[in-house]
Symmetry: C2
Subunit: 352 residues, 2 copies
């Protein structure tokens, strides 16, 4: 009993220290602030170990907060005059729109240590541009990358870059490898993560020169953890825990996978709706259909994290709904509870 009491006290202290503050760009995304605040309210029902600072139009935010009955001691609202439009160029978000935007304030709060992580469903290019300006790159990292979960047969892997860098050098690919390795170690909780480089074949002579160079360098750096080239279908097979690629290819691969899943969903509803037996089969197997639907639900994996900066920023899909946004919040909390940031700093300072 004495132990249990001490244990409870310890957990209580631990629980307190686990209380995280996140900052949310309430105005980012296609249907904001409605989606982001309803998303927050869902996340607060699932997890209560955090509070949020909301950046954006105070009036609009207050209306949504009341509509969703969010407790006032769970949030702070910081009014911002401006919003970065979904089609703004990064340079305009930085110079023309500047410090008064909800996106700027949301990221600034991380660099001011007012929050541990910033979340936005806004314009990706602008969010990356502002993040690089405000949080600055880690020493040794030339370009930050966007990383995200990818489902596979055995669980999940991490793929990066998913769209921040259209063209990359071999050194940058190696740096993405280090960032991804730290992610796999701490967020995917793999003891001994394997690293693969995305290419159009497994043979040495495949791909561009910068990929071939990166492969040589990664072999030296990661030794047996580097498994060489992986192909597009190897990602979903889970052939490696980390998949490294440039932002152009990564973005195309991610969206192609999303499109394929949608198409199969469409074929499925088509095949089962049109006959009596198909509809009956659906009714009887409804739990199996639901399980499958959940596994194919892109909202479950919503949230890409910017790696390689002095601070964490999570990008939610711009067109997601409240459930999707709540998943991005839960993902952010998982990141901030993990040792990822520390591990990245250690690995980068040791290896670059």
């Amino acid at each position: 009993m004495g132990f249990n009491f001490l244990f409870s006290l310890y957990m209580w202290g631990f629980g307190l220290s686990l209380n995280k503050v996140i900052s949310i760009d309430a105005m980012g995304g296609d249907n904001s602030p409605g989606v982001s605040i309803e998303g927050l309210s869902i996340a607060l029902k699932n997890l209560d170990n955090f509070s949020a600072i909301l950046y954006g139009d105070e009036e609009k935010i207050k209306t949504e907060v009341e509509k969703n009955s969010i407790s006032k001691n769970k949030i702070d609202i910081i009014h911002c005059n401006k919003v970065v439009p979904m089609d703004a160029k990064p340079i305009d978000a930085i110079r023309r729109i500047g410090k008064e935007s909800s996106m700027w304030g949301c990221i600034k709060s991380v660099s001011d240590n007012n929050s541990e992580i910033a979340i936005s469903a806004g314009n990706t290019g602008a969010l990356m541009g502002l993040s690089a300006i405000i949080l600055k790159k880690l020493d040794g990292i030339e370009r930050p990358a966007i990383a995200s979960y990818w489902p596979n047969k055995n669980g999940r892997s991490v793929v990066l870059d998913l769209g921040a860098n259209v063209e990359v050098s071999s050194n940058q690919l190696v740096q993405f490898g280090i960032l991804g390795y730290a992610y796999a170690l701490t967020v995917l909780e793999k003891e001994n993560p394997s690293v693969g480089l995305l290419n159009i074949g497994h043979e040495e002579m495949k791909g561009t020169e910068s990929i071939q160079e990166a492969s040589q360098k990664m072999k030296k750096l990661f030794k047996d953890n580097y498994i060489g080239y992986v192909e597009g279908d190897d990602i979903s097979l889970g052939k490696s825990d980390v998949v490294v690629t440039d932002g152009f290819t990564g973005n195309i691969a991610l969206k192609t996978a999303e499109g394929t899943a949608k198409l199969i969903g469409h074929f499925m509803s088509d095949a089962f709706k049109k006959s009596f037996l198909g509809r009956l089969s659906y009714l009887i197997g409804i739990n199996s259909f639901k399980e499958l639907k959940d596994k194919m639900d892109p909202r479950e994996l919503n949230g890409g994290v910017f790696l390689g900066l002095n601070g964490l920023v999570v990008k939610s899909h711009g067109g997601t709904d409240a459930i999707g946004f709540s998943k991005a919040i839960e993902f952010s909390l998982k990141l901030s509870h993990s040792k990822m940031s520390k591990t990245i700093k250690k690995l980068v300072s040791k290896n670059i």
Copy 2:
């Protein structure tokens, strides 16, 4: 009745002229010549308006021909001493292995007008290298491309390049656009094909410089038929009839889509196998499941065609089975019956 009689005569004449000769590299692919010859026997059961010249080891081919009871007046066998291994470099296929390979003979038969189209499940790089050497590029085309069907909600589109050219210039992308447009017009039978350029966003400033340049050029050339940038998920949505991209990105996108479909298939069997109701639902809806499985079957779309050469070459997936190979044969016959080659020549000479 007079008309019907004349019509029958016409169709009879038409039917005769429709009898095609194809050449098959019987030794290409992972399990040859077994797979290619069983594939031929399936195709001959479905379609009888063609005959085949088989290139490869005569003894082995004869054994398989007998095993599959293929009528001898439907085939010719040309013995070849050598085989291009699946991992050979193109330069070795051309210089070291040379003219005695089954792959060389198979392509040469098209340039000698002994057959209308060459099919191989062999090494892609070697097949492209030999095709370019033997058939020569069309005037005006700098680099041939690999094109293939892509299923979407409304039917099919064509995507190219799928792996022949790792790096491309803006002019080469425009040339791929012309080749794809001709394919969409004649093989997909679209009256007014739309053309899209694969990119990581719809806005003008997205992507590499060569993509942005290609976009300007395609706008001038295709006018209203050019719909601008399409993203990865737009391919399966069928947003454009033609999707133009470089061979690196196209190959990654194609394989990622295949991997995603496999993963979903895996999730599906998982979800329905583990409960009694799931298994019951499967039994009752077996026809719907079968329809879905057929739609997701990559064998249905087996066969990429090399465009931009003086002659047609179809590449079958190296690891396909006999049904998959038979689909590549049927696809080849569809191509050779279409006006694609003529249309490509006309469009290229008019626009490049």
